[in-house]
């Protein structure tokens, strides 16, 4: 027995070195001044102060949160009917449908996002379709809508799969019980099905909201150069500007923000389930 536990030892060392240490280094960079070596450094809160006192950065952060919230809401609204339909089938069909939703997610995100450039560009399928419907000259590519479409496209499958799995865990006899007790379809849905699927919605939110806030290639590819989100700012600090300390501070702010938002969502969910108990 003891001998087997030794098998974990190399990985414990590895995970401390390559998973824990990087996070410590990021934090260390965020609270020190630029141009530091390992020996000579100076602690400072300048990087954090710079972020919160510069309205430009705060606006970008706010914009990132806003578009991530929009993406999440759209994903819930679109995912629910699809997930509900998938969950209502027998096992064989359900697995097939889940597989159909999963396949595209296996293909490179960059490649799939790049494809939207052709679809959304002036004269592409979508603008032709809009013209047919009577909308004259609509520019889509390099607008916020394009970024929103790209995000929903990339993250919607996760929401669908989460809701499907929570709907499948539900005890089907509860639905019969509900209708036996006189509830109609809408009542059953609102008071039985929906509350029971909430855990799936919540884990779906974390799989959509988190990557949406921090995404930087979707806004870059589909939003053009003008549409900046917090991920783009971080990328710039590291790749172009070279201000690693400031970039690290923004990363720490973002990581904390996400932990807080996930904590709130989880709290909300547990509160909800307590009320329904």
């Amino acid at each position: 027995m003891k001998r087997f536990s030794q098998l974990a030892f190399p990985y414990i060392v590895w995970s401390i070195l390559l998973l824990l240490l990087p996070m410590i280094i990021v934090f260390f960079y965020s609270i020190t001044t630029g141009g530091n070596g390992i020996i000579s450094f100076e602690f400072t809160l300048k990087n954090y102060i710079k972020f919160f006192t510069d309205p430009d950065f705060v606006i970008v952060l706010w914009r990132s949160v806003k578009i991530a919230v929009k993406t999440t809401i759209i994903c819930i609204l679109l995912a629910y009917p699809v997930a509900y339909f998938i969950a209502g089938n027998n096992d064989r069909v359900r697995n097939m449908l889940v597989f159909a939703i999963t396949i595209p997610t296996w293909i490179n995100m960059l490649v799939r996002t790049y494809a939207w450039i052709g679809i959304l560009t002036e004269g592409g399928i979508v603008s032709k379709l809009l013209k047919l419907l009577g909308f004259a000259h609509t520019e889509l590519l390099y607008t916020e809508s394009a970024v929103l479409i790209g995000m929903v496209y990339n993250f919607l499958p996760f929401m669908i799969l989460q809701i499907v799995s929570s709907l499948c865990k539900m005890d089907r006899s509860l639905l019969d019980a509900s209708s036996d007790l006189g509830a109609n379809g809408v009542q059953t849905f609102l008071r039985v099905t929906f509350p029971l699927s909430l855990p799936g919605v919540v884990s779906g939110i974390s799989l959509v909201f988190l990557p949406a806030v921090s995404s930087f290639f979707i806004p870059k590819l589909l939003g053009g150069g003008q549409y900046f989100l917090i991920g783009n700012v971080i990328e710039n600090q590291f790749i172009t500007v070279g201000e690693w300390n400031f970039g690290s501070a923004i990363s720490v702010i973002m990581a904390i923000l996400m932990m807080l938002s996930m904590y709130c969502v989880r709290r909300l969910e547990s509160k909800n389930s307590q009320e329904s108990d």
Binding site: P10, L18, F85, A100, L110, A115, F238, S248
Partner: protein
């Protein structure tokens, strides 16, 4: 009422499938376009494939992607499986701690993980390039392997290894011949997750690479500023590779099942 609901469900399912597959179909169709346009189909041609195969940068990025994905998958699958077996026998506090650390790359935004690894390599003076990309991929793939192997180990009888060793197996035999076959579905799905995570990765690769080493995602990202239909050709290739992998993975179990049945039948026949 019920029928209506089914129709709405079917319709939304159909729209979702169209939405998800449209870009993929689009890329494949336009990779055969004879003009440079991304919106108008002129005719059939293979010129973008020709250009792609002659483009050394593209071919290099493709081979980098495949090499990194294979190495990362093999190493992280083995390391993750060993770690999971070891952790299942470790003290609770160790197990807790490691699973907390494991959660970092899963819970953190990818860009934060990427920056952490980049700064780590810089701090230790490791030159960024292919090696750092491989190390980073192993680092973020292994937690997923552990996550998919762990539940399988938990469902095993904890005395299984002891029983094997009491019957004379060495610890490594007990591990390879008794434990591993029992948890192989978990190992297999872990390897699959690792492969696709590595094959598709952009953000982490982008930050930890250097010296012009690019994988496919980085190449698409840097080339997307100008219209270049060769990207469609290489994307189609990617779609082809992933589809082939998926088909193999889904067909192999069926074939091996049939082979086993045939073997069983043959044995039955000889017994008669």
């Amino acid at each position: 009422m019920k029928k209506n609901k089914r129709i709405i469900g079917k319709l939304s399912m159909l729209l979702a499938v169209i939405f998800f597959y449209l870009p993929i179909v689009y890329v494949v169709v336009f990779s055969f376009n004879s003009s440079k346009s991304l919106t108008v189909l002129k005719g059939f041609s293979l010129q973008w494939y020709e250009k792609m195969f002659r483009d050394t940068q593209m071919m290099q990025s493709l081979s980098t992607t495949i090499v990194v994905a294979i190495i990362a998958t093999v190493v992280s699958t083995i390391a993750g499986t060993l770690a999971a077996v070891g952790l299942s026998k470790s003290k609770k506090i160790v197990r807790r701690l490691v699973s907390q650390i494991n959660d970092f790359p899963i819970m953190n935004p990818e860009i934060v993980t990427a920056i952490g690894l980049m700064l780590l390599f810089i701090t230790f003076g490791i030159e960024r390039g292919l090696l750092t990309m491989i190390l980073a991929h192993i680092a973020f793939c292994t937690p997923y392997v552990i996550l998919s192997v762990m539940p399988k180990i938990r469902s095993l009888d904890p005395n299984l290894a002891d029983a094997a060793m009491d019957l004379g197996a060495t610890p490594s035999q007990a591990l390879l011949k008794v434990i591993v076959p029992q948890i192989s579905p978990g190992i297999f799905s872990g390897a699959l997750i690792a492969f696709t995570m590595s094959f598709d990765d952009f953000i982490i690769s982008y930050f930890v690479t250097g010296r012009g080493v690019k994988n496919l995602s980085i190449m698409v990202y840097t080339m997307s500023k100008r219209v270049n239909p060769s990207i469609n050709a290489v994307s189609t290739l990617v779609v082809g590779i992933i589809t082939a992998v998926l088909i193999v993975i889904n067909v192999l179990p069926i074939i091996s099942e049939q082979l086993r049945k045939r073997k069983a039948r043959a044995i039955e026949d000889t017994e008669k």
